[in-house]
Amino acid sequence: MTGTLRLFTIEWRRSVALWFFPLLVLAGGWFSADLLLSMKVAIWANTSAHIGLAAIALAPLMGGVAAWAAGRDQRRGMRDLLATTPRPAPQRDLAALGGLALWGMLAYVAAGAYDVFVSLRNDPWGALVAEPIVVGLLAVIAGAAIGYLAGTLVPSRLVPPLVPIVLFFTMGLLNSGWFWDDPVTNLSPWTLIEDARFGNPNTVFYAHPPSLLLESLLWLAGPTGVAIAAVALYRRRSLITWGALAVSVVVAATGATTLMLAFENPNTGRGQWETRELVASTPVCIERSIPVCVHPAFEPLLAENASQIDLVIEPVLGLSGAPVRAEQLPFANGMYANGTLTIDPIFGDVEGVTLALVQDSVAPGPGWNMQYHLQPEQDVIAIWLARRIDASAFEHSYRMTFDSVAGPIRDPVQDDIDAAVARFNALAPAEQRAWLEANYADLRAGRLDMDDLP
């Protein structure tokens, strides 16, 4: 045992992953903390998902590094020499793989510690969730083991780059829209970690669904076991190695099957948020020209949001169809028939607010996402309203939204819209208000055209 431990220590100290460690930490940090930094409010469930997301970079990279390390004996021309040593070859492999995996895990922990530090600065809400963090850690180990197996079986110089490419794109594709409604998507650690149960800020409104930790653990431990057993088999065939391989295959198959059975198809209603249990919460409100309310987790953003909403709605305040209250509701945007304007405080949601102000698009209930198809004259007023806050941020976001809906149709009318916005903006506030009082209902109903604008 002491000898094995000493061998592991040597491998760990001399591991090639040591040289990659700064890159691994940087890559993990980029993947996990990047979006976290842009959020002005911290939710522990969301932070947990971001910690796990480091594995999306680290697992493929560790695969490449492990494939490179596995070819070491071949590169140094030491395979025959090492074959003469008394210690069994699988023991050497385990020590080498263990040393590599430990560096990968340390990089994962370092990136995760940064995420926690970023979150702690913003007084996080809720509690850390173990599932995405553990899944990420297991994915890093599995990536290293798969890479080590590939590098052992095919000690070619093209294998180290191919392993991370295949791992990264396989995880990405399984998590893409192509497999959106296919149970196989659950086999990607990316899907398991990025699961909306953790990553979506709306999770604060709902109770957590049953954990998939055990299934994920089986699924990710399986390939790791298969890789280790296959390397051992490659070195020396024995009943134990065959047995280990068989057990690993069964474990992986069990994990995969249970994960796929647990898949909730978004197209068939299962897994939809509105079917989950809502957790009662009392919104925090602030009185401006209208009351503005958010979930308690988003209280740090309330004052800023209320000021922005105040500025945007001021020109239409009191008009028929204008909002009488703004509130953050789960998975909702648009305006309700009772005059409640839904807001998304985490992204500022200037876009959603202004679009709801210029069009009669009444949201039927929580969980309903509105599709806006604005007419050019509605565009004009939406842009003019949004420019009362920050033109550049809005225009970028808004144009992307519009382009995704209308595509190239927008281009011919773009100049007309810009000119009309400039003309409307040049009017005196009293004239703007008078025009809105006379035309707001028709504007929202889509009964105007560009000639009706001032």
Partner: protein
């Protein structure tokens, strides 16, 4: 001529060309499998150029280590011709594959991404060596894939250029500058040499 032949053999140019051809064939099948589905094609625009770029970066590896530096022949010129040839043939393979894809700009996007990613691989060879040249382009591709483009393409173009549309002139300039920089750097400094190398 014999020298050039031996040089190409020592750099495993045959397997590299086979790898490039295989990548091109896979690119044709990819479009058939996924039918120009948006996310799959977004991945394809970086996946296939990345594989070819890794092959190009790997081609810079010298199996002879420092011993090769003692020869009186112009190694840099041979290396330039070999690496430029790999990039050109790689671009040709991707363009031919993209000819079977439905949109006219697909081939251009693949070629642009190959230029930039191969440039990144070559830029890293003096530090990491040819065998580890894949790390830089892979890291940039992963960063580009993960970055949400709605956050502002322009400000992050240094990372997101592989995902930009073909019409984006700045992305094209970045890619071509990387390729030119990579070829110049590898001409001036060559790949990092490792002692005690054996031919693999």
């Amino acid at each position: 001529m014999r020298l050039a032949w031996l040089f190409l053999r020592s750099r495993l140019t045959g397997p590299a060309l086979a790898g490039i051809a295989l990548t091109g064939v896979l690119a044709i099948f990819w479009e058939n499998w996924f039918g120009h589905e948006a996310e799959a094609m977004t991945a394809a625009f970086v996946l296939f150029p990345l594989v070819v770029a890794c092959i190009v970066g790997n081609g810079a590896h010298s199996p002879f280590g420092e011993t090769e530096l003692t020869v009186s022949l112009p190694l840099a010129r041979l290396r330039d011709a070999q690496l430029t040839g790999l990039v050109v043939l790689g671009a040709l393979a991707l363009l031919l594959a993209a000819a079977t894809w439905p949109l006219p700009d697909d081939g251009g996007t693949l070629a642009r991404n190959l230029a930039g990613l191969a440039g990144l691989a070559l830029l890293s060879t003096p530090i990491a060596g040819g065998r580890l040249a894949w790390i830089t382009p892979l890291t940039v591709v992963m960063a580009a894939q993960f970055r949400d483009l709605s956050e502002g393409v322009a400000s992050w173009l240094v990372f997101t250029w592989p995902r930009a549309a073909f019409g984006n002139d700045r992305a094209l300039v970045i890619a071509l500058a990387l390729l030119a920089g990579g070829l110049v750097v590898v001409h001036l400094f060559g790949p990092k040499l490792i002692r005690d190398e054996t031919v693999v």
